[in-house]
């Protein structure tokens, strides 16, 4: 396995990145195509990429203040490591790869701080079932097709609002798994939790998100026959 050569990666990140081979900085260095070296212009960063990076961070952190913070940290880091930019990828890709590192850093830091609060993540799931473990009120049939849905901005807004409702920690595991496609092992490392905890978090996240979407978005087909 290759080690990541960029200067921003911590040892844990290197492993993660090797596993998912997603570090733009590595690809940049390995790229054989000699493109014209692009000049960087930090003065334009905020206007050109600010909104894009903010949306990228917000999708993953589900927290406006935290998203602003990581975007700012990204700009600062980028400024300090401008020497490392070799112009093989676009300025936007380069900034995004730095942002990804910052987001993982944020997750790691938070999960250390929140470690002791894990037990307070309420077990709302149990309330969905009766004493024998049967559904009290089972899932309704959804009238929908994913393709159509995806084109609907409103749906994504609902989805985002539902993610916001999920407890932070649970949402984090979920976002890393479903949006960034990390494996359970990788999530365990980032959030510093056991695999079992991770599966439980993902179960809670999926079940609560399903419920939230059903309440707030999906048209329920009449009769409810499956």
């Amino acid at each position: 396995m290759r080690a990541c050569t960029c200067r921003i990666c911590s040892p844990v990140e290197r492993q993660l990145i090797n596993a998912s081979s997603s570090c733009e900085l590595i690809r940049m260095n390995e790229s054989k195509k000699e493109k014209e070296v692009q000049d960087l212009d930090p003065k334009l960063w905020v206007d050109q990429y600010g909104d894009y990076l903010y949306a990228f961070a917000l999708t993953r952190l589900v927290d406006r203040n935290a998203a602003e913070d990581v975007v700012q940290e990204t700009f600062v880091s980028a400024l300090h490591s401008m020497k490392n930019f070799r112009g093989h990828s676009s300025e936007k890709t380069w900034l995004t790869s730095i942002l990804k590192h910052k987001i993982l850093d944020h997750f790691r830091k938070k999960s250390r701080e929140e470690k002791h609060h894990f037990e307070t993540v309420g077990d709302n799931i149990r309330q969905l079932f009766d004493g024998k473990g049967h559904w009290k009120e089972g899932p309704e049939k959804w009238k929908t097709s994913p393709k159509k849905l995806f084109e609907q901005k409103e749906f994504l807004k609902t989805l985002y609002a539902c993610l916001e409702e999920l407890s932070r920690r649970v949402a984090k595991a979920f976002v890393l798994r479903e949006i960034d496609g990390l494996s359970t092992e990788e999530i365990c490392k980032v959030l510093d939790i056991s695999a079992t905890n991770c599966w439980v978090m993902l179960y809670r996240a999926r079940t609560l998100l399903r419920q939230c979407l059903e309440l707030n978005w999906f048209e329920i087909s009449p009769g409810g026959a499956s």
Binding site: P42, D51, T59, F75, H134, F150, L159, I179, W199, T207
Partner: protein, 93 residues
């Protein structure tokens, strides 16, 4: 009605877990038996798969724009200020 050996609570947990790792054979059999008889858990499974499919595509490249509000004017100003300050600093050294 007996739902094999898992109840709905357990089956939903296992259905979710099956998206993250390969379950042992007896659990897969148990889920399958249960799903044959339980329309609620079948829906749960279907809907989880649908959510996964939607979320897999929920990334920057094909996500419609303007879902999120832009960076606030205040944050924008603060970052610009910080950047120009640091940049000046960089040049000095």
């Amino acid at each position: 009605m007996h739902h094999w050996m898992f109840n709905c609570h357990e089956v939903t947990r296992l259905v979710s877990e099956s998206l993250d790792r390969k379950l042992p054979l007896y659990q897969r059999m148990g889920i399958r038996m249960h799903l044959l008889m339980c329309k609620f858990c079948s829906r749960y499974r279907k809907q989880l798969l649908l959510m996964k499919e939607i979320l897999t595509r929920y990334n920057e490249s094909d996500r419609p724009k303007d879902i999120f509000e832009p960076l606030s004017e205040e944050a924008r100003k603060r970052m610009k200020h910080l950047l120009s300050h640091l940049e000046g600093h960089n040049h000095v050294h």
